[in-house]
Subunit: 272 residues, 2 copies
């Protein structure tokens, strides 16, 4: 059973291990008019990944925290979309890096307005110079250790909406806050889950929808050159707060744009 | 100019980026009877590395915070050694990973008793199964992104005092909370600075003292087999809170022990 803190009390416990070491993880859940269509996927990931860290939560408790938060904050936002953020940490205390044998996790509940949606005509993206490193132990996990993403995001400039990060092999893995899909000659392509720093809930939704609609999808490494090649029929970025958005220009190169992926994957719409 | 928080007020700002993303770094400074012999090296590292992150502090301000902390807490400890911990973060707020253009850093000041010193007869160590990953951007830097060290430290068992971590190349790089020196056939050896997750202040002290005393030191990668080989004349672990301690048993293998390195490097003693 976790200890719950409302972030708007603005008073975090000084010994919290999320603060000391990033010893925890988080979810950012889009809510609108009291509904969070991807909540189930967010809780699936939170439960699985906290378990991988040795932090044990219960689903009913998390669901209750979510509905309490929606009751508490929904009124503030009215009909406007907002974001519910859950931060789970291993708890307070321990001897340095080594936790106590028994620890009570902390759950911190934040809220903020949803960022403005990107235009349906697409966004500009570029490549980050900040290398992406992924410890296999944490692959795909939205841990609190996000300093690489901070250093990459610091370099966002002008009208660039996202920076794509490459790993030591030179493969393009993901954006600072998005996952990546491209439409190549063979069909849809996305970098493999094991290579990711964060495996998005929207990424899961996109993969499942593509499967449901019988579209071909391959999970494999993606090279920089592929994204800029004339054979590339489009690049999309995904996260659960903004949905899916096409890239219309990558590192100065115009890319073909359509809204095919957004249409397939809109959680509000059902494919025929 | 930073915003200072005393951790014993137990009330951290909820929007602090160190909490959200590990967007910051820390120092753990041994203090005894009002003196911190390695303070200068700690501040050197803090100033250099915060600068690498784009967080700008002033040395006089940090020195004042240190002396204020020693005044505030020294009385509590009397003649017993204690640890002053400074946590510096980029500040409070920003839009997701991307910081605001201008941010005021936060400095959080913690204190705790020094852990018991390990026996001079040496300690038992073993190898961690948790891989060590180092983003070159952060090599050597004591950032708040320490989840790997937490996961490694969780596996500490029995009388094992430290677990040594290896990187993807299979080289032994450092302990969860220490740096590593060995005495091989060619002289002293330590893993290179660029390969490290944390480049310790005590490591710096050891290297400088070895140089001062004319001892041969090579910075190069170290293989697991070297540490267990009959040609290995000793292994030492260092950090600025415990000093230098020999390893008397590594993964079940007894190692030769002497206190040569501790004698060379005791900041309280001067070499002849």
């Amino acid at each position: 059973m976790f200890q719950l803190y409302w972030a708007d009390d603005d008073c975090l416990p000084a010994g919290d291990r999320g603060f000391s070491y990033g010893d925890g993880l988080f979810e950012t859940i889009r809510v609108c008019e009291g509904r969070a269509p991807l909540l189930g996927y967010h809780l699936d990931r939170l439960l699985t990944d906290s378990g991988r860290l040795g932090i044990f939560l219960s689903r009913p408790e998390l669901e209750k925290a979510c509905s309490d938060a929606v009751d508490r904050y929904g009124v503030v936002y009215g009909g406007a979309p907002w974001v519910l953020k859950f931060v789970v940490t291993r708890g307070t205390g321990g001897r340095g890096y080594r936790p106590l044998a028994e620890m009570r996790p902390n759950l911190f509940v934040f809220h903020f307005p949803a960022p403005p949606g990107p235009p349906e005509t697409g966004v500009r993206a570029d490549f980050s110079r900040i290398p992406l490193t992924v410890n296999p132990l944490f692959s795909g996990m939205k841990t609190l250790n996000r300093l690489e993403q901070v250093m990459a995001a610091r370099e966002m400039h002008g009208s660039v909406w996202e920076l794509l990060m490459t790993n030591a092999d030179g493969h393009v893995v993901e954006g600072t806050r998005t996952n990546l899909f491209l439409l190549g000659p063979e069909g849809w392509v996305t970098p493999p889950g094991a290579s990711l720093a964060v495996s998005g809930v929207m990424r899961r939704q996109v993969i499942e929808r593509l499967h449901l609609t019988g579209e071909r999808l391959v999970e494999r490494s993606v090279g920089v050159g592929e994204l800029l090649s004339p054979h590339c029929r489009g690049v999309w970025l995904s996260n659960s707060v903004i949905g899916v958005v096409p890239v219309n220009n990558l590192a100065g190169h115009d890319l073909p744009v359509d809204n095919r992926l957004a249409t397939i994957c809109d959680p509000e719409k059902r494919p025929d």
